[in-house]
Symmetry: C2
Subunit: 156 residues, 2 copies
């Protein structure tokens, strides 16, 4: 089964900004927030869209299936079918290796929340977190985007 492996950290300082190479605006919603079978609709920069199915997390890995779909379908699903509220965030890609490092800056109901993530090969040793990374929240399900949709950061 295809698997996504990542670790997730709070952000302790803004020093990550010096490492940014590019960013994308993500608008996403959920058709299921059941942690055994998450179904996410994601629109990237208003022009590319994906439907993603995620199974339950075991440690830092979870099954993941992702399909590109027409952006206009995603807009309609986000506007009419997905649970409220939607998740909106800017994703910054960093010049850092090993692994693929990003920082998500949330807006809307999750305004004020920043999360760093590193995706890496399943079975590999997790990359050492940078100095600006804070608490490791990989196994804290409150920080999954599906949970943030149900219980937004600003309501904590």
């Amino acid at each position: 089964m295809p698997v996504e492996t990542e670790r997730k950290y709070l952000v302790a300082s803004m020093d990550w900004r010096a490492e940014v190479t590019r960013s994308s605006r993500l608008r996403q919603g959920y058709l299921s927030t059941d942690l055994d079978r998450i179904v996410r609709v994601r629109l990237v920069d208003d022009e590319t869209a994906f439907l993603t199915i995620k199974g339950r997390r075991r440690g830092d890995s979870r099954p993941e299936f992702e399909y590109q779909i027409p952006a206009e379908d995603a807009v309609q699903m986000l506007d009419h079918l997905c649970q409220r509220p939607l998740i909106e965030k800017e994703r910054y890609f960093l010049d850092r290796s090993p692994g693929v490092w990003t920082v998500d800056v949330f807006s809307g109901d999750n305004d004020g929340l920043l999360l760093a993530e590193v995706e890496f090969d399943t079975g590999a040793t997790p990359p050492t977190p940078p100095g600006w990374a804070g608490t490791d929240v990989t196994e804290d399900d409150r920080y999954t985007n599906s949970s943030l949709q149900e219980s937004p950061f600003r309501s904590w």
Copy 2:
């Protein structure tokens, strides 16, 4: 928004068998059974697969988005991610018009249930049901496949 329009009937006699042109074995499961945002994985004859999202029904129509996915992905989602039990049925296609007529013969936990469906153009007059069709159950949500998964026919 793409829309599916259909009416659904119980089956009052087996006379539909004379109209069968072909059949397919369907194995399907649900990632969401929320009637506002159903997410279905369907495997057809163990070789073709679809991921389908359906919005809330209004009368005989509902929004529907459907994407073909690799059969091996569907097998893994059915085996590991979908809610239990799965729905298994044989779908018989009929030589009858107007509309596209099918009869589903359920097995497993829904053994004993037969449902006839006709899909037709949105806004058109529903085709006249044949003599072998029984009660119109279009607006009885117990007969949606997502409900039959949660509350199978044999448990009624």
